[in-house]
Symmetry: C2
Subunit: 437 residues, 2 copies
């Protein structure tokens, strides 16, 4: 049987694992795919660089478009990330009706509408299991395992770096800046950690998951995004005392014909499975009409886990080819053409319970002022922690509220800030919503 010919663009941690497995595990892959898989071309920036696994030098090129344009290549695997030239590579693959496998969440979050419809129109295959949560089979689960169900809610810890930092802050009581520095030294965080710690990478994944789960086009700018840079050890300790743990969650929820898309630090009850997913692990919780609650946990990044996801897409396409199938489904499961663009509920309309930490002078009327401003906007307090006082030092007042609307919360906080009693910015953390069954 004529082999399926694979061209690889990028030979970093993931790419070199993919190349190694395609080479060393060829026999097992052939048994599973029903057809031989052959690595025929690899684009790298520097052909001389030493790597964990270096393919035969005859396969190497420094020009990514050589891979897409080569008549020898059936499936293009893009592992360079970023928007440019990945977008042009994807569009070229769609035009040439080649299979395209990518781990590029930024590309699909920012240019998904164009990429998804290009592949749908040309009938070429698009695989992006590796773009969200590494080895967790979330794309295949939504697209195939829940194809007879309706997803209502997705909540996920989908950024390993952020979760690693929060977990260490929780375990060690350390400050964000210190753990970040250490994570950078260990290679767990990048020199510029913005995408990870500001929640942007998580937001990319929310955009992709929402498009897939709710069969809608998503504008990336509609994902409300907050990172973890302001979380302090005191917040983590207060959370624990109140029975919670803080996680950076991506949330996509459908309510009737509207959706809510957001990334922010979230208090999860300590008993919640996801509250105990630590270190570099990712977790995704799905609530659907028929299946109820499901949670998938696994390694969200790294060469091995991401290579598993990439290879699952390659084998899937090879099985299609071996069995004579065209593209078995549209990139998002159902055709983009038939999709409504569901309106996104603004964050101001969110209803949630809130954790608030005020830094205020140690004066008797302060709490009354805070409670009054909240009460004036219909927000009632569920519980309170006040730390022991130190003479002439600001005190922290920690409050948990009952359910409130975000706009009312903002109004209250603006009022409190304007009264001049806050000696530092107020910390606001949303509590995980109910309905997780």
């Amino acid at each position: 049987m004529k082999p399926v010919r694979i061209g690889l663009i990028g030979l970093g941690a993931v790419g070199s694992q993919v190349a190694r497995i395609l080479t060393e595990e060829a026999e097992s892959l052939q048994a599973r795919a029903g057809i031989p898989l052959r690595l025929v071309k690899v684009a790298v920036r520097d052909t001389g660089k030493k790597r964990g696994f270096t393919p035969d030098s005859g396969l190497l090129t420094t020009e990514p478009f050589d891979v897409v344009n080569s008549p020898e290549v059936d499936i293009v695997v893009e592992l360079i990330g970023g928007e440019d030239p990945a977008f042009d590579l994807a569009m070229a693959a769609a035009r040439k009706r080649k299979g395209f496998v990518t781990a590029n969440k930024l590309l699909l979050a920012l240019r998904g509408a164009e990429v998804f419809s290009a592949f749908e129109k040309s009938g070429a295959r698009l695989g992006f299991e590796a773009a969200v949560a590494g080895a967790i089979p979330i794309i295949r689960s939504i697209r195939e395992s829940f194809s007879g169900d309706q997803v209502e809610l997705i909540q996920g810890i989908v950024n390993g770096t952020g979760n690693y930092i929060l977990s260490r802050m929780t375990d060690e009581g350390s400050r964000f800046e210190d753990v970040l520095k250490d994570a950078q030294a260990l290679g767990y965080a990048e020199a510029d950690p913005t995408l990870d710690v500001e929640g942007i990478d998580s937001a990319h994944k929310v955009a992709i998951l929402a498009a897939l789960a709710f069969e809608t086009m998503v504008d990336f700018s509609d994902v409300y995004t907050e990172g973890i840079t302001n979380i302090t050890p005191e917040d983590i300790i207060s959370a624990r005392e109140l029975g919670y743990r803080i996680k950076l969650l991506g949330v996509a929820r459908r309510v009737d014909d509207t959706i809510s898309l957001r990334v922010h630090p979230t208090m999860l009850p300590q008993k919640d499975l996801m509250a105990n997913v630590d270190g570099p692990f990712n977790a995704i919780h799905i609530l659907s009409s028929q299946a109820g609650a499901s949670t998938l946990v696994g390694r969200g990044a790294g060469g091995g886990p991401t290579a598993t996801a990439v290879l699952s897409d390659i084998v899937s396409m090879a099985r299609d080819i071996a069995s004579g199938a065209g593209a078995r489904m549209a990139p998002l499961g159902a055709p983009v053409g038939g999709m409504d663009k569901l309106p996104v509920i603004p964050i101001d309309e969110l209803e949630s319970e809130y954790y608030l930490r005020f830094t205020v002078p140690d004066r008797p009327n302060v709490l009354a002022q805070i409670a009054g401003a909240l009460g004036d906007n219909g927000i009632s307090i569920a519980s309170m922690i006040q730390r022991e006082r130190k003479e002439n030092q600001p005190v922290s007042v920690v409050l948990m509220t009952h359910n409130a609307v975000e706009a009312d919360m903002k109004k209250s906080l603006a009022h409190i800030e304007s009264s001049g009693i806050c000696l530092a910015p107020t910390m606001i953390i949303r509590i995980a919503e109910n309905g997780r069954d």
Copy 2:
């Protein structure tokens, strides 16, 4: 486009959900499958019975073979369970090259070798996502998401009834018999609960998962099986004091070219994700070479969750048909013909840490006798609990051992029993193995 025609055998809790969704959600299913799905025949025992959802009476028949034999039916969905007539129905579907979707774990555990090879040979499609762990997408994950990886270990809570009973015993301190009676009254346990509480149903699932994960034929009789009927409230309390929770686990592990297959109560560290999967939920932990540790949690039974699994197989087959594909893969992912039958390690060769509870007279030399007998077989004690004494009453001695070989453990226990000091059968619970990363 000519619709894919579906025939249903069995209209119980799962079947009536499947029939309802095929009927009421036809539009969304068609968008996802790329082809209309139509329910054309339904076999029931009693056509007059009232059900949650009753299809058009023109579709009903009382003869299951009418469904398989009908030239109108493309996909047969078998939801009656049991070996007979399900086996003959499956073989007839394979011969007629019809898609066959089943939730029947007993059938695939006991007659898997015949069923899997019949479908492989005929090139017909076999879907059995619903046979293991309800809505948890474990079959698709192993067969497709880990197709570029090697699974090394599967550990699962795969029986909802057993987990429900153990969870309530743990939460309430109740006795097995009492919770079972209550579970039967609530409809969570069957009148004859043997399959669930004796671990047999879990063993069915272990046999299926091992065949799939390790690409080997499995003899069901090779699965070592112990149930939960002997677990007492005292064991649950002792486990908690030692930092563990007791779960009924199915385990399939590959070590080089041998496999270990077993179902038994297992102590899981309290911090382990699976230790906190309670009630009717199932969980499956997978350790694989590249992806590392993954855990999937979800509802393991019930009409809705199982219907989601059944429909995912139906939609998958419909996508094949719509895209012109033959069967995209062998039922077990790789062809059965090429499979080694891996030898199964006997339980006597298992290495594990053990929890032991002895019921003995309250005499000073008793502990020395027990420790001596263990020590003579090279087994050392890691920790001990002795409960407060009541005058002239037997006492419980609870021990945790370091790693030991099961055969040595049995020799020690036989020696201790023969000395006549045991006033009741000794309780033995294995501790979850390491290497779960």
